[in-house]
């Protein structure tokens, strides 16, 4: 980017400096909110105690709260934000649809179905304890497959139906259909498994074991690397399939890369943290507003940082710092995401094709 902008100075207003500034600010906010997430929680701890624990090792109770609970939770928040936001951006570009996102198109629901099969499905023959030993990768893989199947269905349909609203309605139908299947499964399952599943659906960042966190970290890292590799393809896809292939893009390959990438990102997040709404759809728009560009070489790092910040903030808010209560994460992300989505709808009401 640096070289590009240096040379295009004679052609274009130098916005590169602004973009660097924004990137720096975003990186700083990620760090600030990450630290804040450590400091603020439902158990109120003095800052001085936290600092003491962080740097010189304080009392045992505090270091458990900090290192076994708050630190992994903050990392999880960061990963979840990144994963959902990047997959949302990719979906919006590949479907050429400003309203696309993992939750809206039913991809999250698909992942939930995969998880439901693992958590609920085995109850017929296997005791609840056995599930824990099944391993996290099975849970994640089921989630990937669930997300992948729905992604494939939507891709298949969107190749035939171009209308954005129709696709969204189909996404809603798919979500409802999947919920119906899950409800049926709940009906036939044991009470303890049902409870485990229902808690999972509320969305939470704090229930991950360190093994699960590792799996999540590896998956998100893989997804992010793949998404960065796909940025040139995504830029070409902005032109629409015809122009994209006329400038030499292998559309099938591009679709497969994006498809695998979004399935991994959405699937892994959903497997461990439950269906978390509105981050995937709202964050890419925030990145577009902030960076005012369509270039994915900037938008992808941008959504990564903004996704991280938004999720950390959501986590802090959901802890209701200072109080003993915790509110569900999903209500916080919805309250942050929905205004952005409404703004996009209002702005685009004239052109249902613009994204």
């Amino acid at each position: 980017m640096a070289e590009k902008n240096q040379m295009q100075n004679d052609l274009i207003l130098p916005s590169a400096r602004q973009q660097y500034l924004i990137f720096t600010l975003l990186l700083l906010s990620v760090i600030v909110f990450f630290v804040l997430d450590l400091f603020l929680g439902s158990v109120s701890i003095k800052s001085s105690d936290i600092l003491k624990t962080l740097f010189s090792g304080g009392n045992e109770q505090l270091s458990i709260i900090l290192f076994k609970f708050r630190f992994p939770k903050a990392i999880t928040a960061l990963l979840v934000g990144i994963g959902l936001a990047v997959s949302g951006l990719q979906m919006q570009t590949i479907f050429r649809n400003p309203m696309a996102g993992p939750d809206v198109l039913g991809i999250t629901a698909g992942a939930s179905l995969g998880v439901a099969f693992v958590i609920l499905g085995f109850s017929v023959n296997i005791s609840p304890d056995a599930i824990k030993s099944l391993g996290n990768w099975i849970l994640v893989a089921a989630s990937w497959i669930g997300a992948g199947v729905i992604m494939m269905v939507i891709l298949f349909i969107s190749a035939r139906i171009k209308d954005i609203m129709t696709i969204l309605i189909l996404g809603i139908m798919l979500s409802s259909g999947i919920s119906a299947i899950v409800i049926l499964m709940q009906y036939f399952t044991s009470e303890s498994l049902l409870k485990a599943y229902v808690i999972w659906t509320m969305g939470s960042l704090g229930n991950l074991t360190s093994d699960q966190l590792n799996v999540l970290l590896i998956s998100i890292l893989a997804g992010v690397i793949l998404s960065l590799v796909s940025s040139k393809m995504l830029n070409a896809l902005l032109l629409g399939d015809n122009y994209a292939s006329s400038i030499g893009l292998n559309i099938k390959l591009a679709r497969i890369v994006v498809f695998v990438c979004t399935s991994i990102l959405t699937g892994s997040v959903t497997a461990f943290c439950g269906p978390i709404g509105f981050i995937g759809i709202a964050v890419p728009h925030m990145a577009r507003i902030v960076f005012r560009t369509s270039d994915h070489k900037i938008l992808i790092p941008g959504t990564i940082l903004i996704g991280g910040v938004v999720m950390l903030v959501s986590d802090i808010v959901s802890q209701l710092p200072g109080s003993e209560k915790v509110i569900p994460l999903n209500s916080v992300t919805s309250l942050i995401g929905i205004p952005v989505v409404i703004w996009v709808i209002l702005r685009n009401r004239k052109y249902s094709g613009i994204y």
């Binding site: 295009q8 274009i12 830029n235 070409a236 015809n242 030499g248």
Partner: protein, 340 residues
Amino acid sequence: MKSAVEEILSLKTLKIGYKTGNAENIILPELNATAYKGELIAVIGKNGAGKSTLLRTIAGLQQSLGGTVCHDGKDILKFSRIELARKVGYISTEIVRAANMNVYDLVALGRFPYTDWTGRIDNENQIKIAEAIRNTGMSALTSRYISEISDGERQRAMIARILAQDTHLMIMDEPTAFLDIGSKYEILYLLHNLAKNSGKTVIFSTHDLHIAISQADKIWLLTNKKLIEGAPEDLMLAGDFENLFESSSVRYDSDHGTFSFHVFEKGTIYVEGEGIIRHLTEKALSRIGFVVTGIKSKPCLIVPSGENKFWHLVTNNSTFRFSSIYELTSSLNNLDLKTI
């Protein structure tokens, strides 16, 4: 003569159409045509004649059902997607609607087949992009968003994009559709320059026969499931354009290269005068259904010239005076020449 000129594209017994399952929906069964370096070729045909299908097939966006398409003497099937993108560029009526995409970004995407996997724009790419922007006169608009510029400007930006793509052959499906008349001619002027000065071969489809005839070096006329190739004048001589119209109320006038409706003929009139005033008066007369005769007779219309600022209509019985063509035509519409 022709062997000295570089052959850019050749179509041999090309069969085009769509495949649905095992069934073939053939639009044009056998096409033969050639395009040489620096030619501006207009593709003409009725709606549904297969113009877009043909252009998409040439651009490799759609598979042919038989026969061959050769770019620079090599079969299109032997090209990879990237290789083909370096040979042929494509523009259709489809509008790019990406949010926050500026003109520079759009043009830079034309370098897609030349950049590495990161899409990095190096010095050489940068030069090509700047050149494409300059050649299309878009320099002042590089940082404008494509959603905010006019249709004509967006079309120029699209042309800049395929210029940056650096192909010998440019395929354009109705590049002047949706454009106002000024932008239409600006785009055509641009295409003409690209063909003549930069040696690009441009194949474009259009519904505007007048534009095609006046600007194109060659016409590919799609009619009756065939492709007729030739200079516009050749096709005029052969009377091929008349096949374009089924309806008998529209007629192509080979002498003038214009179209006219069959209007109930109201009579003949002789026009006396010169220059543009005479030309426009004749046009107005034929529009309202009069045949202009070359034989001096009555009624006779004397058009303004010199001191005379009025149109004088001299009939057997009397003389009428009009101060404008509108006044003249509205009176003539109401008059029965035979009785005056």
